[in-house]
Amino acid sequence: MAQSIIKSILRILFLILLQSLVVNKVQLLDGLILPWIYIFGLLMLPFETPRWLVLMVGFTVGFIMDYFTGPMGLHTTACVILAYLQPIIQNLLAPREGYEITQRPTIQKMNLTWYLTYAGLLTVAHHSVLFFLEVLRFNDFFYQVLHIVLSSLATLLLMAIGQYLIFTSKSSES
């Protein structure tokens, strides 16, 4: 348990640094594709994490991201919404018997379809809030939608690749 908490915290910090120091420097197609992979740390929280804790972690992660990248409140808002939706989506997608104690929200512990639905819905929700809050106008509506779709796909792809690289089927304990 304690080990799982420490791992979660380290993973979240590592992803925030990776996001702000490396990924933000990569601007594909003039910034049309902008993956926000730091939310991977939130999506990986174990199923049994209490909802209030998910919300607090979401708030903190968003706050740290804001601290690194610009107008305060932007990532905070998007992450709080993500953290609110996450358990709801998990419940919607739960197998009939509920989740087992050993299961984690990863491709290896669940399966690819489950993961893409789960992460896909949450990624699109998070990115939509983020991009619309930042721009706050709808005149480039189709550009925005394209921006959200392409960025979400990039985030999903990176998170899936990350899982295949980091966790072999044996070592995915946390």
Partner: protein, 280 residues
């Protein structure tokens, strides 16, 4: 009372959600630009340190390009050496020291972090109060304007570049004054408003600074006209310009300080107060 407690117990997750959401939105919308940059200011010393370390690493990858830029800059400066000029008018040349007082000083700085893809972009420089950088100083690079310092910490400063949706500065186009703004999107294109329709302008004309703001000396390069739209019924041109600064490749910049700023501001303020006194 028990009912209220029971209610809170039942919906505490939703309440917590709305509380945190409200906090986030308040941070985003409740703060005006100044407070927002004050947040940035708190973050510059810590985050600036991290960013400058990253910059040290990634700089090696761009050494070739930086060399080219510096060589070009050297060549341009060397071509300005007095020994390269024929002295045609000795009277001004000889008395230059006593007739001219220096108005602007330029300090060098390096961009250690920058965004270009957002609507509200910022640059972070590795110079701060200890190096003499103050709020509202102008920043230029290679003779073209970059932005204005919005906040400083001891060793770092944050710049609002031209490509920030709140940026504004007066500019001059063929002798007429206009306002330079940027409305998001392409970091190479900006807009100049308030140029009257009777002004004759052409694609390719040069836009420079006016020297009316304290941030930039007069005549610094801003950009070139790429498109003129006269469709609207208003009596002003809508001019699209290509900015002379490439914000994606910005590296070394100069920070401009105006030595007469306080003096000029104080007489302007005195005049405004005198006029205000007559009004009342």
């Amino acid at each position: 009372m028990r009912n209220i407690l029971a209610l809170i117990q039942r919906f505490y997750v939703t309440l917590l959600f709305f509380g945190l959401l409200g906090l986030g939105l308040a941070m985003l919308f409740g703060s005006n630009n100044y407070q927002r940059s004050a947040f940035v200011r708190h973050s510059t010393d810590l985050v600036g340190e991290i960013y400058s370390r990253r910059d040290h690493l990634s700089q090696y990858l761009r050494l070739g390009e930086i060399n080219d830029q510096l060589a070009l800059e050297n060549a341009r400066l060397r071509s300005r050496l007095p020994s390269n000029f024929l002295i045609t008018d000795t009277s001004t040349y000889d008395v230059a020291d006593s007739l001219h007082r220096q108005r602007y000083i330029f300090r060098t700085g390096r961009v250690i972090n920058a965004t270009v893809t957002r609507d509200m972009n910022y640059l972070t420089l590795d110079r701060g109060e200890m190096q003499g950088v103050k709020k509202d100083m102008g920043v230029i690079a290679g003779g073209a304007i970059v932005g204005i310092v919005t906040s400083t910490s001891n060793n770092f400063s944050v710049v609002m570049p031209v490509i920030h949706s709140s940026f504004q500065t007066p500019v001059r186009l063929n002798g007429f004054y206009g306002q330079l703004t940027w409305r998001g999107g392409d970091p190479e294109l900006a807009r100049v408003d308030d140029i009257p329709k009777h002004a004759r302008i052409q694609v390719g004309d040069t836009i420079t600074t006016t020297g009316y703001s304290f941030a930039f000396p007069a005549g610094e390069l801003v950009g070139f006209v790429t498109d003129i739209d006269d469709e609207s019924k208003e009596s002003f041109h809508v001019v699209t310009i290509r900015l002379a600064t490439d914000f994606r490749k910005l590296n070394y910049v100069e920070i401009v300080s105006d030595l007469f700023r306080e003096e000029i501001e104080s007489i302007q303020k005195a005049q405004e107060q005198a006029d205000g006194a007559i009004d009342h």
